[in-house]
């Protein structure tokens, strides 16, 4: 890191240089005054040494320019005041010309070297100071808890080192850049260049309307993943005077701020994940405990009632019927509990879909098999077109949808006809379950899908209005839609759609082979 104070120091040096030159002249004169009484004691060669010492001291204290002046002045003063004839420029012994030349040469070289040494020492000192300041800022940044603190630290640093006001612009929830102010900063509206720099990830220069900082620089806070915000710095002077060292420093500050902002982002993400995981774990354990505690007594109830119906010798018919009824009711209760728990899982939104590509026919078959006994008194026709594509769905959940729709048909169209058909329209496949029962009450086509809503309150048919709500939740997590209509010829018609997506390619020969037998 180079000297960031160099620019300012240079100006200061310009103003102060006249003074240092004066000091150099004064020092040479003082040396002359001090040396004059010693002329009787010391040899002239030692007087030369006194002058050389003066030049070294001047070079050390005041720098190169004054040292050069002092070198020439020392030779001049030595000639006038010490070399015989004194008080004249003339020289008696030509040897002294050599003395002058050597003295001047030595003074210049020593002065030069000393000044260089001083400059390097200063530079090293400044660099160390800089590094320390940056280190301290970095340390502060890593202690920062939020964006405002980062803004505060960064703007303070820049104000101290560059005497320029700085603002940190971070995207808000809507993605719009907004200023995060350090304490005591005037409110600023981000210039359009800020958004450009944010989008492009490159530095942008802008002209600010306000004095006394007419020019500004927008630096993107770049991290490995993305641009996290903008560091906006305003300068009191034209931009082309911005020294490369300053620009370098600003880039460093911007990347440090970017790292700090990114760290905060990840801390936030990690905390949210932790909170989510914790509440999910709690809900899951609650649900599984609940389902286990409800299922066990129901399993026992079904099992015991079932054992009674199978007793040898058979129970008297009245008791046998009672046992069968208990079994039936326990099974219904079990399916109700299962529906409730499923609904809870679906509503939490934590159902993991086990989606696989599969023919619709299979899940329709397994759903019908689930309800083999209750559907036995119904005429069932399945009308699937042979060219139906494979669909991607969770078979267990779609089976639940179909079972609920069939149960509905059994409930509201006892002994009737149930028609299942499907058609491929556009980018969805529509599956329809129609019955020839009493149909839906007018205006109830939408409300029946709401939770705990039942189509016909007065019919006395059992149910709590859970089935269709579950159907809707399942179809919606599959990206489909479910709706109900009343058949013009009577009866209810439930339909749901599933998106076709991009079915995987299947050996065509096989598909044809399978269809040949269909016709």
């Amino acid at each position: 890191m180079s000297d960031v104070k160099l620019g300012r120091k240079q100006r200061w040096v310009n103003r102060a240089s006249a003074l240092s030159y004066c000091w150099a002249i004064v020092a040479c004169m003082a040396t002359t005054l001090v040396a004059t009484p010693l002329l009787n004691i010391f040899d002239l060669a030692n007087i030369v040494m006194l002058f050389l010492l003066t030049v070294v001291l001047i070079a050390l204290r005041l720098g190169r320019g004054p040292a050069v002046i002092a070198a020439f002045l020392s030779v001049l003063l030595f000639d006038i005041f010490f070399v015989p004839p004194r008080f004249s420029l003339a020289v008696n012994d030509a040897q002294y010309l050599v003395t002058f030349a050597v003295m001047l040469g030595v003074a210049l070289i020593i002065g030069q070297l000393t000044a260089q040494l001083r400059q390097e020492a200063n530079a090293a000192l400044a660099m160390e100071k800089n590094t320390r300041a940056l280190y301290e800022m970095t340390r502060d940044l890593f202690g920062a808890m939020n964006g405002s603190q980062v803004a505060e630290i960064v703007s303070q640093f820049i104000r101290k080192r560059l005497s320029a006001p700085a603002t940190l612009l971070l995207p808000d929830d809507a993605g719009e850049l907004a200023a995060l102010h350090g304490a005591g900063q005037p409110k600023t509206i981000p210039p359009p260049q800020a958004s450009i720099a944010y989008q492009r990830g490159e530095a942008e220069i802008f002209v600010a309307a306000s004095e006394p900082f007419p020019l500004g620089l927008c630096l993107p806070l770049k991290t490995s993943m993305r641009v996290r915000g903008i560091l906006m710095v305003q300068f009191p002077e034209p931009m082309n005077n911005l020294a490369p060292e300053h620009r370098h420093l600003l880039d460093t500050i911007a990347s440090l701020a970017a790292i700090a902002i990114e760290r905060m982002h990840y801390v936030k993400v990690a905390q949210e994940a932790l909170v989510n995981a914790e509440s999910e774990r709690l809900r899951n354990s609650l649900l599984s405990t609940l389902s286990h505690d409800l299922r066990t007594p129901l399993t026992v109830l079904v099992g015991l009632a079932d054992s009674l119906t199978r007793a040898r010798p058979p129970l008297p018919s009245r008791h046998g019927e009672a046992a069968a009824a208990i079994r039936e009711q326990a099974l219904r209760m079990s399916s109700l509990v299962h529906n409730l728990l499923d609904m809870a899982r679906l509503q939490i939104g934590k159902v993991t879909l086990n989606k696989e590509w599969q023919p619709l026919q299979e899940v329709i078959g397994s759903s019908l098999k689930c309800l083999e006994a209750p559907l036995a008194q119904h005429r069932i026709s399945v009308r699937l077109p042979p060219d139906l594509p494979l669909l991607q769905f969770d078979a267990v959940l779609i089976e639940r949808v179909l079972v609920n729709l069939f149960e509905n048909a059994v409930k509201y169209a006892p002994g009737g006809e149930i028609v299942i058909d499907a058609k491929h329209t556009g980018d969805v496949v529509e599956i329809t379950v129609a019955d020839n029962g009493q149909g839906l009450p007018t205006g109830a086509e939408e409300t029946i899908f709401a939770l705990f809503e039942r189509g016909q309150h007065k019919t006395g048919v059992g149910g709590v209005g859970l089935g269709l709500a579950i159907c809707r939740a399942i179809v919606e997590v599959h990206g489909g839609r479910i709706w109900a209509t009343t058949n013009p010829e009577g009866g209810a018609r439930f339909a749901f759609s599933l998106p076709v997506g991009n079915p995987p390619l299947i050996n065509q020969e096989l598909m044809e082979g399978a269809q040949r037998e269909t016709s």
Partner: protein
């Protein structure tokens, strides 16, 4: 002749479930021993050498799938799993670990007994594969590799034939998608289950009376397939 009655080990932590299952098994002519924990179950399985193990998957001390894995390293006794609904992943893991079948809670006693009988019956059948297999109006001749339906030859592709004969060999037993895919297409294709579904669909087209409501090639939703020879309803026909 109490020694002729097969011994069933019941590993289940709920005493009430143990009670009615034990009663049903004993009524059906089995001897039973019981364990409430997986660890106890494993040591009983080793010492008493039961003919069949009924295992609850939700044991307090150990995961049931681990139990099966452990058992399978030294025993071939059939395992029928008692599992919860909406726990398909668990069922699949248990079957892949070596369980033979499962029933879902709450289960009908008749269904449980039918599964137990089937699991015990098919044990020795694995060795002497029958040359001719019949179900419904279909006749499969393993020697001549011929399949006939209502005395008419049915053309099966080699893969369809392989799939059918593999399922016939394991008739009555649930085969997971993974097990079937591994057998027919090899271990590298265990994820392409849509192929399996399409082949099963075409077998149903060729062999079932109503392919939409199959009587033999049954779907175990979310788990796999089961080949059922007798079409009779196990709920009604469970008393010999």
């Amino acid at each position: 002749m109490s020694e002729a009655r097969p011994l069933v080990l019941l590993v289940e932590d709920e005493p009430e479930i143990r009670r009615f299952v034990r009663a049903a098994l004993e009524e059906d002519g089995y001897r039973t021993i019981e364990a409430t924990m997986a660890s106890q179950g494993l040591s009983l399985a080793a010492s008493a050498k039961p003919a069949l193990i009924l295992l609850d998957l939700g044991l307090p001390d150990r995961d049931g799938v681990d139990f099966i894995g452990d058992l399978r390293s030294w025993s071939t006794a059939p395992v029928v799993v008692l599992s919860a609904r909406s726990a398909e992943a668990q069922k699949i893991a248990a079957l892949d670990a070596g369980a033979d079948d499962y029933v879902t809670k709450p289960f009908a006693v008749g269904e449980l007994l039918a599964r137990v009988r089937a699991a015990l019956r098919r044990r020795p059948a694995n060795d002497n594969e029958t040359a001719v297999f019949e179900f419904g109006d279909v006749r499969v001749d393993h020697v001549r590799r011929l399949v006939e339906r209502a005395q008419q030859p049915v053309h099966l592709t080699p893969i369809e034939y392989h799939l059918l004969s593999f399922m016939l060999t394991h008739a009555g037993r649930v085969m997971t998608h993974r097990q079937l895919l591994k057998e027919i297409w090899g271990p590298s294709h265990v994820e392409s289950s849509h192929y399996l579904r399409v082949y099963v669909g075409s077998l149903r087209q060729k062999l079932e009376v109503d392919p939409t409501q199959p009587r033999h090639l049954l779907t175990e939703t979310g788990v796999g397939y089961r080949f059922q020879v007798e079409t009779a309803d196990p709920y009604k026909n469970d008393n010999p």
